[in-house]
Assembly symmetry: C2
Homo-oligomer: 347 residues x 2
Amino acid sequence: MKLASLKDGSRDGKLVVVSRDLTRCTDASFLAPTLQVALDDWQRLSPHLASLAQSLELGSLPSQRFHEHQAQSPLPRAYQRANCSAYANHVELVRKARGAEMPPAFWTEPLIYQGGSDSFLAPRDPIHMADEAWGIDFEAEVAVIVGDVPMGAGPVEAGEAIRLVMLANDVTLRNLMASELAKGFGFFQSKPSSAFSPVAVTPDELGDAWDGGRLHLPLIVDLNGKPYGRANAGVDMTFDFPTLIAHAARTRPLSAGTIIGSGPVSNRLEDGPGKPIDEGGVGYSCIAEQRVVETMRNKEPQTPFLRFGDTVRIEMKDRAGRSIFGAIEQTVEKYEHNPVPEHRRGK
Amino acid sequence: MKLASLKDGSRDGKLVVVSRDLTRCTDASFLAPTLQVALDDWQRLSPHLASLAQSLELGSLPSQRFHEHQAQSPLPRAYQRANCSAYANHVELVRKARGAEMPPAFWTEPLIYQGGSDSFLAPRDPIHMADEAWGIDFEAEVAVIVGDVPMGAGPVEAGEAIRLVMLANDVTLRNLMASELAKGFGFFQSKPSSAFSPVAVTPDELGDAWDGGRLHLPLIVDLNGKPYGRANAGVDMTFDFPTLIAHAARTRPLSAGTIIGSGPVSNRLEDGPGKPIDEGGVGYSCIAEQRVVETMRNKEPQTPFLRFGDTVRIEMKDRAGRSIFGAIEQTVEKYEHNPVPEHRRGK
């Protein structure tokens, strides 16, 4: 089944079941008002959601048009998000750009960091940023939402906890990264709010493109309407999702609704790092990678990071060319902070 | 007012208002079933909670005995937790132990990292860990819960968003830290589930011990029943809470219910780092600091990290000697993972 959270003025949106072709949806809030509630009680509620999805396909219940721009991220806020760098090729490239060595352990042990999860962007909402000089970049990723995972779970148990799959735009502020990472405790300001695809789907919706650990389809990234990335999410994923989840659960349980992100999808070619699409390559899932390749070729990067007005679109299609998750499509806009006047400030 | 979340079998507990002396509580779930719901709609709900607290003090409504061991952490799970190292003295000491330099920027810009928030421990529940060799340590901290903070808020606006204050035990696995930090993206496995004090209080409950940014009282840490730390949380806090919150909100909004932790409370003495309590010092808020001091004195640490059966207690008392938040008191116990049998695994 396919699930979405419609904007309804609340913090968590309203749960709907979406038709396979993404054209229609039906209210599921009588079963569970929000997706988090459904995940909290998945064993009891998911069969009812699945039968709702079946009736929706048969046209045997009231439904409404599904508009992707009316969707929040499937979880508008989540209790946890762990982001990984499962495509070690990306890590190697970006570290090269920072002049940092790639330790050999990166090919044998997952790299994972705690991401923010309290305020996700809607998939069609702008990316508001105060300053272009922060080096605004996207990272196109695959992400899964898990149920409860006990501490110490192995990859088999971890894989069975995968409830939903979706796409992510992990917005990154490249020019804030170096000074933040130099402090040694990871990202904070350099990882602002992310966005996820309008729809999250159960693994069975993916057919044989999902092998239980990896999603074997190209991730379509367009920048300002032009093809930018077509890397296959099933290729060069050094660590599969069950391995990532088990790594995250080694010293603590993961609660239902935890989002595990793959990190930017990145394919390594036989003759080295990726080529841009206009040279017959698969392109990139973030601008940083292209800039590294440019630097390796020409000693300096040519492609700028995102500027106000730039639009990134992230989507994935099944083998018949139909959009699976709907599209993340976001334009960068200038943010102005207006402090609330003193007399209107709440306590 | 003082708020707690009682264990009731649900994931978020049941909201109660607790009497100032922590002996009695009254159900507040008819106003807001959970603390998160109260925080989501604080301006509307908090006056009602405050009047409930007033009636409880006057004895004019039904109440029950409040048992700290029946309390969850005030937010049993939260949408965000940002942990800081606001006591730069601690950072300098612990980095010395790792042989790492302390960059001068650490005294002028907050160090902040994204912490896990999906599965907090209850304040009297055991700390279950699979392996003593992980170097199990506590970190006794002060933490605040904020309301919505817009992106770009300055310290004044950030300070006004502070809703509640509590204590924290930020459990840390010291022997997993070095290899994790070496990867450059911060902690994950080395920061398992944390616990918070049984009760969270509004800043007005703290009287003049709270100056709007710092809490000027000793943090009482006992290890296996013996005094271990008495560092004053108002002393040597390099960055106050409004500064920490504003730093966290520079590139993204913070949602209601975000927890901001101070990092381990640490006082610097005129003649150098802290002395143990039995030498007339204020002691330590984590074992790592004591081990650093021991290493500086004797070339190697004597105090071991926590072993199975060890108990840490963290509390704070007002100037009249009354417990403000109740006590975190946790014993380390051996964890065994038992995978769910295949036939009982849910989808």
